[in-house]
């Protein structure tokens, strides 16, 4: 079977990606001041990978939707998706202003039907299975659509994720692209210390018939290059080594920021110290 599609290698501007991600982080911190909790740290860890997917990999069908499909399986990372969709003009800024209010449409997990949201996720371990079904349907329809799905390492502890990974390998879904936000933290603790059998990860995907590559998930250029160079004929997993809370020093690798919003003083420090992230 021929490779269905390859991203243009030269078309991705990593400097522009860094600038965009700086803007996304600032926007999320701003919104954090209006709500009690918004999962900032898990949004920051998957940010560069999500930006590469939207800006460097997915093809746009028309101004309001993409030809390819993206699922935020780690639903609690949706703040990243929201600010990217806002920047792309798909999601209205007014909706982000109404985030998590009864007047708005956006909650702390993606809800199908909202602009740019393909599936309702939030319960972990669901997105990959849905993505497998989508990729299979696109194959049946002889469509060239690619399916992209962002998973957290924590949700790979769900058995359902491995049922889906195994099935994707069985079906040799070459139009399925998994991006793994390997930030080493589930909600409670550091997985490499408490759940050591979870590692190694790349080899597990390879054993299930996937093509898998590990890169620095905050290096947009490396993420794009790895995804664009996939060989095809098999499902593809890009394992992005990331830092939970990346971009705000006091949030990095500190579990409380999985959920908590910064207070006024913390917000001021975060905004003051915010800088472009390249690795």
């Amino acid at each position: 079977m021929a490779k269905t599609w390859q991203a243009p290698l030269a078309a991705f501007d990593a400097a522009a990606a860094r600038a965009r991600c700086l803007g996304y982080r600032r926007r999320i911190l701003d919104i954090s001041q209006r709500v009690g909790a918004l999962h900032a740290a898990p949004a920051f860890s998957c940010m560069e990978m999500a930006d590469v997917i939207y800006h460097g990999l997915m093809r746009r069908g028309n101004p309001t939707e993409f030809h390819d499909l993206f699922l935020m399986s780690k639903g609690h990372g949706c703040m990243t998706q929201y600010v990217i969709l806002e920047e792309l003009g798909i999601l209205a800024s007014a909706e982000l202003e109404r985030y998590c209010t009864a007047e708005g449409i956006l909650g702390a997990h993606p809800d199908r039907g909202n602009p740019g949201i393909e599936a309702s996720t939030g319960s972990l371990g669901h997105g990959l299975g849905i993505a497998v079904g989508m990729a299979y349907a696109e194959r049946l329809k002889r469509s060239d659509r690619q399916v992209y799905v962002m998973l957290s390492d924590g949700e790979l502890q769900e058995g359902s994720s491995w049922e889906a990974a195994m099935m994707a390998g069985n079906l040799r879904l070459d139009n399925l692209n998994l991006f793994l936000d390997l930030n080493d933290f589930s909600g409670l603790e550091r997985m490499s210390e408490t759940h050591t059998a979870f590692y190694p990860v790349r080899e597990k995907f390879e054993a299930f018939g996937w093509e898998a590559l590990a890169v620095n998930g905050h290096d947009a250029q490396a993420v794009h290059a790895a995804a664009a160079a996939r060989r095809g004929q098999r499902p593809f997993a890009l394992i992005g080594k990331t830092v939970k809370g990346r971009g705000v020093a006091f949030m990095e690798n500190v579990p409380i920021w999985h959920y908590r919003s910064p207070n006024k003083e913390e917000y001021a420090i975060a905004i003051r110290d915010l800088a472009e992230v390249s690795s």
Partner: protein
């Protein structure tokens, strides 16, 4: 019922390329094997993995296909329950979950294979419609309805094999969401669903020589329940008997009593169901029903017939 479902589905799948079946390691009975041979891409076996069976159905429905998930009822609904709830029902996707062997049909396999709470659980989930046909002919009609609809998820509870014809003399055709009178009477009304309705016809037969005219109703659609129809039954009959091969809580019996209370009915209502327990009995289906106190003899005795 299993073979009728397979034949009906196969006939429709030949016409509609969007129809797919996703099974979890269940042998393709009857025409399902023909489907597998003729349309191998549309017969997907996830293996012994029910969460991906439901997850795949959700993804396929999101991309415009019409998938049916198909396996033994306990593994179609209980094992992947949160996937049925979140992936199918929360997103309101047109996927039919077919549960084979509702109740204690798998009578030699133990309670791990008894779907004795499935109707109560399925009816509790928003957006999920619940259908339990009583015989092969009704299975055909229900399957056709599931194939034609595009509104949202359905739990289709079937028996297995060898169910007798109960509906060929029915007064009404199958209509989704409506009571179906298999027999019209005036004094006693027996409401039920699934193959358990066989007992209802026996009760009606026993009642006749005693001068009691009995209605027998297939309540094939458990959700949305035909509440107006049931209220009318409670008005037009002096005595109502509810039969269900299901747990005693959260099923049709409770619903009929609630409707009776809300409509200030003075009708006498007697409910028969499986017991609220796991039984450790292995044998024929009838023997399992008897162990649950749900045999025709036990029911007739309690009804004093």
């Amino acid at each position: 019922m299993r073979n009728t479902f397979a034949q009906t589905f196969y006939e429709a799948a030949r016409e509609d390329p969007r129809l797919c079946v996703v099974v979890a390691d269940i042998s393709p009975a009857g025409a399902m094997d023909k489907l597998r041979t003729e349309f191998p891409e549309r017969f997907i076996n996830t293996g012994v993995a029910e969460q991906i069976m439901i997850g795949m159905c959700a993804g396929m429905a999101l991309r415009g296909l019409k998938p049916f998930a198909y396996t033994i009822a306990t593994f179609a609904l209980f094992r992947p329950f949160e996937f049925v709830r979140d992936d199918l029902c929360y997103q309101n996707l047109p996927v039919t979950v077919v549960g084979i062997g509702g109740g204690v049909t798998y009578s030699t396999l133990g309670a791990t294979h008894h779907a004795q709470e499935d109707v109560a659980i399925a009816c509790a989930v928003p957006n999920l419609r619940v259908i339990a046909p009583c015989d092969p002919a009704e299975t055909r009609a229900a399957t056709r309805w599931c194939i034609a609809q595009e509104q949202g998820p359905v739990y289709l509870r079937l028996g297995k094999a060898g169910e007798p014809d109960l509906s060929s003399g029915a007064a009404d055709p199958f209509e989704f969401g409506k009571l179906r009178f298999l027999k019209r009477g005036a004094d006693l009304c027996i409401l039920g669903y699934g193959p358990a309705l066989k007992v209802a016809l026996q009760i009606a037969e026993r009642a006749q020589p005693r001068g009691v005219s009995a209605s027998v109703v297939s309540v094939h659609t458990l959700k949305p329940l035909d509440e107006a129809g049931i209220a009318a039954v409670l008005t037009s009959h002096r005595r109502v008997v509810v039969l269900e091969e299901m747990a005693p809580r959260g099923g049709l019996g409770d619903a009929v009593k609630r409707i009776a209370w809300d409509s200030q009915s003075r009708c006498r209502i007697e409910c028969f169901s499986l017991q609220d327990e796991f039984i450790h009995c292995y044998g024929k289906h009838e023997e399992l029903l008897a162990a649950h106190g749900f045999s025709p003899a036990a029911i007739l005795r309690k009804l004093d017939m």
